[in-house]
């Protein structure tokens, strides 16, 4: 326990004082703020003259700013934060000989990876929370919306899921930093996995679905094809995350199925026919995705754990 705390403290201090973290944070804060700002400006234009509907605050996160919404941005590029924080966490220490030094102190071996992982998660949490806070402030300024209690709850939930999602990628990066001695190799491997799941799987799912269930004029076939594509794309953590957050942050969604992109007014007019889901109902819709995401993170960490515990640690 003692070792875990000490290592976590040091890792946290290392992260927060590193240029790597500062650059990453500046980059992400900049993009988020620009996206949210554009979304805010669009929103206040569209909402001019009509009574403020419910959940306007959440639209800061879900409506498209420049090209993509903030939630889409996190889904796509959030993993990079995890990868950058973790790709050299073990192999750097191994190469510089500090790992032997560390492990010859009276601490349990798992304290090293647990401490590093937890410190990484803490950094991710700090990053995400401060970005959401900045966006909230921006929303107040531009759109003049004050989030309600339920909206705050939804944002908090969204934050938790996002942190788990990025932590999953941190776990992937740490796994590679254990498996590969070279930092360049582990960075490349982590990047490859990210590209595969974030770009290849969604495209590949559509291609495979096309082959397995070719579209015909028949409605049933179309539905089958759509279902297959969806199931296949869920291999990707990004898709899991997108499905998992969409109903949380967007109360108008009753399912996690993707809708045709619609504008704010169309979205609002939909509410006439279907009221927003209460928070607990939304939670129910997305729970399976969240659980899967947590399970994936655990599996990834578990593999890292076993690999690290059995590894020869000498620096040759």
């Amino acid at each position: 326990m003692h070792g875990l705390k000490t290592i976590m403290k040091k890792e946290l201090a290392d992260h927060l004082s590193s240029y790597r973290f500062l650059i990453l944070f500046a980059l992400i804060a900049m993009v988020s703020l620009v996206t949210a700002y554009m979304a805010g400006v669009n929103l206040s234009k569209e909402l001019e003259g009509i009574a403020k509907p419910r959940h306007v605050f959440l639209m800061l996160f879900t409506s498209a700013g420049i090209r993509i919404s903030l939630t889409q941005f996190v889904a796509l590029f959030g993993p990079l934060v995890g990868l950058v924080l973790g790709f050299d966490s073990i192999n750097r220490e191994r190469n510089e000989g500090t790992l032997v030094q560390l492990l010859s102190q009276p601490i349990y071996r798992d304290a090293v990876i647990n401490g590093k992982f937890l410190a990484g998660v803490a950094v991710i949490a700090v990053m995400m929370v401060s970005i959401v806070l900045m966006i909230t402030g921006l929303g107040l300024l531009i759109v003049g919306v004050v989030p309600g209690l339920e909206e705050l709850g939804r944002v908090a939930l969204y934050l938790v899921i996002s942190i788990i999602y990025v932590a999953f990628w941190l776990g992937v990066a740490m796994l590679f930093s254990i498996l590969f001695r070279s930092m360049a190799t582990s960075a490349l491997a982590a990047l490859a996995v990210w590209l595969f799941f974030s770009f290849f799987v969604p495209l590949g799912a559509s291609a495979v679905a096309n082959v397995l269930a070719p579209s015909t004029a028949e409605a049933a076939a179309l539905v089958r094809r759509a279902q297959l594509e969806r199931a296949l794309s869920l291999i990707s953590p990004m898709e899991l995350y997108s499905h998992g957050t969409v109903a949380v942050i967007d109360p108008l969604r009753r399912t996690t199925r993707s809708l045709v992109q619609v504008g704010v007014l169309e979205q609002l007019s939909l509410t006439r026919f279907s009221g927003p889901l209460p928070l607990d109902q939304s939670l129910l819709v997305v729970l399976p995705y969240i659980i899967t995401l947590v399970a994936l993170t655990c599996v990834c960490f578990g593999v890292s754990y076993t690999a690290f515990m059995r590894q020869e640690i000498r620096s040759l």
Binding site: G3, G97, Q101, S104, I107, R314, S315
Partner: protein, 250 residues
């Protein structure tokens, strides 16, 4: 010898993918002595030290350090053993003081006590002036001395020093040897040191063990090893002569 055995091994063996690195090693180190582990590169010295620390699992055989089995209770062993690795690694972004603080914290030494020990240790190894410089800027000799400072902060009963003088210039080597002697005389540490540099071993070790290709071919005080090999008591032989004799026979 009346002193108690601190390190005891019995048939300690390590096999790496079919290649024997340490071959049925049986030896003891007694309280307060400096035991010199002597052997060419690849003899299995580092592997033995790692097994005694619980950082590498033996393929077979037994070992105890201060009565503790390092394979079963590695953390307990590491509480009483200080280790200076062959390739000392430090966090480059820290300065000496921060590094020693981190070591103290990992050893659960209370902060006030740690500060006192750190100040004393830096003084002894002669790094007090450079304590606030980043370790990145340290020379090899300074790093090695910082490694000794770590041992002074940790104050272990037993110290494993793996090739403590390798890559040092003669001046730095002398300094290092003096520091090691100080650990032994002033702190009563039991020291197991490995080296392939014969001269230093001869200067400071009470007993030596000669290791060649994973096997310990001889152990004991130098005079006895000399007597065994050359058969004439009292005649002075350098360690080098003794060593070469064993090496040629192996």
């Amino acid at each position: 010898m009346a002193a108690e055995a601190v390190i005891v091994t019995e048939g300690l063996t390590k096999v790496y993918n079919g290649q024997v690195a340490v071959d049925h090693l049986t030896f003891s180190v007694y309280e307060g002595e400096i035991f010199g582990f002597l052997g060419p590169n690849g003899a299995g010295k580092t592997t033995t030290l790692l097994m005694l620390l619980g950082l590498t699992e033996p393929t077979s055989g037994k070992a105890t350090v201060v009565g503790i089995d390092p394979t079963r209770e590695p953390v307990k062993v590491k509480r009483v053993v200080g280790y200076l690795p062959e390739h000392v690694g430090f966090y480059r972004d820290l300065n000496a003081r921060q590094m020693l603080r981190y070591i103290a914290e990992l050893n659960a030494i209370p902060a006030a006590e740690a500060e006192a020990r750190i100040a004393r240790a830096l003084d002894i190894v002669g790094l007090a002036q450079e304590a606030d410089k980043k370790i990145d800027a340290y020379s090899r000799g300074m790093r090695q001395r910082l490694g000794i400072a770590e041992l002074l902060v940790k104050e272990p009963k037993v110290a494993f020093l793996d090739e403590p003088t390798i890559g040092l210039d003669p001046d730095a080597t002398n300094r290092m040897v003096e520091l090691i002697q100080q650990l032994s005389q002033e702190r009563q540490m039991t020291i197991l040191l490995s080296s392939h540099q014969l001269y230093q071993v001869q200067r400071i070790c009470h007993r030596i063990g000669i290791m060649i290709r994973g096997r310990m071919v001889a152990q004991g005080p130098m005079e006895r090893l000399a007597a065994e090999k050359f058969g004439i008591e009292g005649e002075q032989h350098t360690l080098e002569e003794i060593y070469m004799k064993y090496f040629q026979e192996a």
